[in-house]
Symmetry: C2
Subunit: 183 residues, 2 copies
């Protein structure tokens, strides 16, 4: 599902103009979308936080979760604007209390993510925000973690979605997906 907030195409083009293409990063043949230039631009950064917040309101989350490390940049700002708590989803060994964990395959090797078991009460609605939806492996793992602790995924929001990787097809059916910028 695609959720409701529509972003004007002129605004999307303007945001895209703030993103820097880095050829051959992290390896040859890949054009990396460098979002740091957008975050550095106060008007673009503010627009993105407002758009994510506006969309989040409609999903009525109890918490916003962010995925380490770049998801930490946007998710807490939205949580603060909504006046709700923030949940970090982290790499292994970083969260000090009892965790649920999940491992998932990457193109080469695998990754593990963890969440504190008491990060949200049973049945609470958690909106997951990350900077980029690529193949969807990380996003899917984050959804599973939220469900493992007994909470509900209120939706997933991204600054950028790489449509040509079809990552949203790897996310659980019925989850509301919102991306500001599509490539």
């Amino acid at each position: 599902m695609t959720s409701g907030t529509m972003i004007n195409q002129n605004k999307v083009d303007w945001l895209k103009s703030k993103i820097r293409d880095i050829p051959d990063f992290p390896k040859k043949g890949i054009v990396f979308k460098d979002l740091t230039t957008l975050l550095n631009d106060h008007e673009a950064f503010n627009f993105v936080v407002e758009a994510l917040t506006e969309n989040a309101r409609g999903l009525k989350p109890d918490y916003i979760a962010g995925i380490e490390a770049r998801g930490f940049i946007l998710a807490p700002a939205v949580a603060h604007k909504l006046g709700i708590g923030f949940i970090p989803i982290r790499k292994p060994g970083k969260l000090p209390h009892t965790v649920e964990k999940i491992s998932y395959d990457l193109e080469y090797g695998s990754n593990t993510l963890e969440i504190h078991v008491d990060a949200a009460e049973k049945g609470k609605r958690v909106l997951i925000i990350d900077d980029l939806l690529a193949t969807g492996g990380t996003a899917h793992a984050a959804c599973q973690l939220v469900e493992k602790i007994g909470a509900k995924v209120a939706g997933m929001s991204f600054l950028v979605e790489l449509d040509f990787l079809s990552g949203r097809n790897n996310l659980p059916k019925g989850v509301e997906i919102f991306s500001i910028i599509h490539y």
Copy 2:
């Protein structure tokens, strides 16, 4: 130097009650201050962002920098509230464009941090925000990085400062240091 914003002691005690002590993490004998329980609490989290923002206003920063990973949680929220841009200071190999880097010693081994060379224009004021000031090694490295790209450190702000580690003595003289909670 200690900067001006004063936090009421009752509020500090209330914030401390939201922080969870984890004995023997990451290793035996260390009591880890788990801030995730504070971030999870919407009132405490909001209070912290407001306090950091209030203090930041007096320092007149052009940008807010955050240090990967936990500094990413608070710094961008403050940048958004002030309507200014965000600068990520990251672990090696994560920033895709040309970087300045710095290595510094830890108790065991060493760490490296990087910043994009064009993250701030020459002479611009950068406020560095991190979650915790411990021995000051990371914070000092972040100051040096900001100066390496020709910008000025407008100050450093922390959610928690571990006074017994005297980390502020390792920061450049004259830098305004603000910590909400002291242990």
